[in-house]
Symmetry: C2
Subunit: 112 residues, 2 copies
């Protein structure tokens, strides 16, 4: 049994899964899927995450070009985060994954 192009495909999925494997990344992703949020809005929306950790996770999502950060000039200046077009294309896929999980994962699901 020979595998050539398949290996690349499997790896692509692995890389995609890896991009979202941070502790808070799926939660950040879904909050931003509804639109841009200010940093403090996002922080308040996610229970039990420190600002430091949230910033780190956001930076990793920025590095992966899934999230973009915009500084709005003004007084005081405002920083918002939103999905990039590439990130937005992930939204319907993750919604289907979410549906699958809600259907099949039994018992109490906790943030851990």
């Amino acid at each position: 049994m020979r595998h050539t192009y398949h290996e690349v495909e499997f790896c692509a999925t692995k890389v995609a899964l890896g991009l979202l494997s941070g502790k808070w990344k799926p939660i950040i992703f879904f909050h931003l899927a509804s639109g841009a949020l200010r940093f403090t809005e996002l922080w308040r929306a996610i229970p039990r995450v420190s600002k430091k950790v949230l910033l780190e996770q956001l930076r990793q999502l920025e590095d992966a070009s899934i999230v973009e950060r915009t500084v709005h000039n003004g007084f005081p200046p405002e920083v918002t985060y939103q999905l990039t077009p590439k990130g937005a294309e992930l939204a319907p896929i993750l919604q289907r994954l979410d549906q699958w999980a809600l259907t099949h994962i039994k018992g109490t699901v906790q943030i851990s």
Copy 2:
């Protein structure tokens, strides 16, 4: 901003991503998406994985009810692995994730 049912949804996705977060699990998953395979077939299909590690990853996928193991009586007895119905429902979702990754992830993608 209050979050109630949303938290459960975000977590469901996180759990789903976690189920596939093992080093070889996406690769195992895609090989089995085409049909049942004997253990040695699966092992040969995946480059650079030890039998011990492959068995561990398969066991975790069995625990998650994504993969099932069948012992076929015969001489010698044969063990095959295949996706459960729950696992099979994941296939089209992961295929879309794969397409997204192939479109957007640039540069060399390596198994690591």
